[in-house]
Symmetry: D2
Amino acid sequence: MVEPDLIQDSLPHNNYTDSDLGSNFKKLRITDNVRELQTVLRDKTTSRGDFIFYADRLIRLVVEEGLNQLPYRHCDVTTPTGHKYEGLSYQRGNCGVSIMRSGEAMEQGLRDCCRSIRIGKILIQKDEDTREAKVVYAKLPPDIDQRKVLLMYPIMNSGNTVIKAVQVLKDHYVKEDNIILLNLFVTPQAAKALVKRFPNMKVLTSEVHPVTPNHFGMKYFGTD
Amino acid sequence: MVEPDLIQDSLPHNNYTDSDLGSNFKKLRITDNVRELQTVLRDKTTSRGDFIFYADRLIRLVVEEGLNQLPYRHCDVTTPTGHKYEGLSYQRGNCGVSIMRSGEAMEQGLRDCCRSIRIGKILIQKDEDTREAKVVYAKLPPDIDQRKVLLMYPIMNSGNTVIKAVQVLKDHYVKEDNIILLNLFVTPQAAKALVKRFPNMKVLTSEVHPVTPNHFGMKYFGTD
Amino acid sequence: MVEPDLIQDSLPHNNYTDSDLGSNFKKLRITDNVRELQTVLRDKTTSRGDFIFYADRLIRLVVEEGLNQLPYRHCDVTTPTGHKYEGLSYQRGNCGVSIMRSGEAMEQGLRDCCRSIRIGKILIQKDEDTREAKVVYAKLPPDIDQRKVLLMYPIMNSGNTVIKAVQVLKDHYVKEDNIILLNLFVTPQAAKALVKRFPNMKVLTSEVHPVTPNHFGMKYFGTD
Amino acid sequence: MVEPDLIQDSLPHNNYTDSDLGSNFKKLRITDNVRELQTVLRDKTTSRGDFIFYADRLIRLVVEEGLNQLPYRHCDVTTPTGHKYEGLSYQRGNCGVSIMRSGEAMEQGLRDCCRSIRIGKILIQKDEDTREAKVVYAKLPPDIDQRKVLLMYPIMNSGNTVIKAVQVLKDHYVKEDNIILLNLFVTPQAAKALVKRFPNMKVLTSEVHPVTPNHFGMKYFGTD
């Protein structure tokens, strides 16, 4: 967990150039409203009640934008007054997977947008001896290889945990381009590492910034 | 309640030119995801449970975008690790006002984004003799003239009800440029009428289309 | 709106004898937990955010108990492992009706327990000249005479508004014994007046007390 | 996962005698409404959307009853009209702990009743070689030894997982009589095992029945 002191000043937030991250790396449209949500989540004086409420709002916006990355097909419907309306419908066959523990904070936001979506989870921990990230637990929908996967992890510093989790999904025969990573805050180096390692995975975040709010999971759940 | 049969074909949805509606008239960014929400709300085969769920999602997106129309100010905060973060904070002093009955469907979405915002309401009905729109009931925050007002009404065909409601707000000394109208579906003629009548009011919608889903309130609440 | 000063001391809360109110008058089981909810709702120092949160909890408990007053029928189901289970199922055909404005605070709690229940509403106001309660607005499910009606009104001082609303329901051919009034706080005189006037209507409350929190609607919605 | 075929008939549900389970073993008051919730959760034809909705309702009722097991103290408050009201207030210092995975289904219900309660979690898995239950993961509030703990686990067949989890709590210096186990369905043998092992822990359930809906976690989350 690194929070470099100097980089922030030399690299003011929100003007990081994302151009070298490629077309599969997406950022939420940053409005004043989104900036306010980010501000509240960074402020150390925010109460836990407010933190959860504002986090849930930002998460829902990321989820809605994540759903927008899914494939849609044309679909004509008939209105109650008999008009034909040329609409869109997204193709069924999705699921969510949260990476414990902070990723679990995004589960309710996902349910708020996809009422009865299946939600799996993965727990990765560092081996105390080797310091290597190890998969301790994985609970996934049985037919996950047939599904688009909304992978949830709000804070990324090095990207190592997510890289391990994507590997778990691949071991379950999920195709890389079927994965959409939903994230709130990511460092430039984690963004680059992910994009380099999994160029066909979609990544959606709300902010690329050298300092990420690492207290997220602790503040959201109230446990250390 | 008019739903012209022919216009829809000659004026396919979403390519209506909004340019003549001025800069205070805003449209939600239309993504595939938003198009899907609109499609479900128009489809006559949608169940009431789904209708409410999808309507709530679209309403939340409009509310979040509406909050983005409020004035924000710079605000430095300190992170738990002692960094200074240059953020934004919106200025307090808002309220919601729903126009009965369909506008009430937007109240919960507003609460989902602004936890304890004050919510007033206005009931306007046609006089059975004169056919004129009359204010039957109004319950507003006492200091509404000091507040930004998020006025809620999801479906506008002629704009007459909203025009009457804005007049009520003005009678309570609310300034026109303090009003942000939150809407889901509006006809071109209602959009024009509103913009012409109240050029300083902000209007936010998700779709300008000659045919609006007039069954909205009935389907949402299950009453005729 | 009367809040007698002296009665409270001479008639400590919760030992009011309900025995003369008959078997259709029900009180929520009063636990320490419910007492705490009531306490927070009476405390003038409670913030609006907390007020809404605690009110919603008490409302949900009243709604769940209200649903328990509906008729159920036996219904055998089969479990995933093939066992037969002798269960209960309530008979469809309900709706909610809120009496404006405070009754509307109970709508979300009703939806939290009955996802897509139809919700009508009634607005009653005093005629400014005659001081008589008049029905200004009523929006009801079209087939309400075929339904059980969960009538919602949280605070009752005299009972006059509710008496008028029940009359509206009866004018729509709702049978008295199909009405279940959901209430939070009621004065003894209002309880007696209701029971006397509509002996076949069920009434469910959380507290009979000479002083009711009349600021309920104002605090919940933030409007006067 | 044992579901005995014969016991059910010889021991019809809900007339299991709980008397030998002692005073710390509590059952939710079983109303027709609760019976309906239980029926929907057992029925194999229930859709996932309905399953989640009905489970959330039953969970909230168990949580509210669980909160009622906490210690309360008298607390006088002043009403907005200046009356003194003798109320109750529960003593701060609680937290929730869910036992993965099914226990996590109860987290949202807990939040619905205690907005910003801290929620820890424990993961216990069988060692593949020794078949012994092992603690794989535990994330708990740092000061948990100072708190009442609402331990969440909806389905108990043998009680072994919960026994292991309680041991984890005790290893963190939580006192047995500070633990309230929140459960939905428990077998008689698990109930007896728990009560015998931890006589000072409170146990709250909605049903003691030899057959428990073991598909609970899978149906709630949609993963196997």
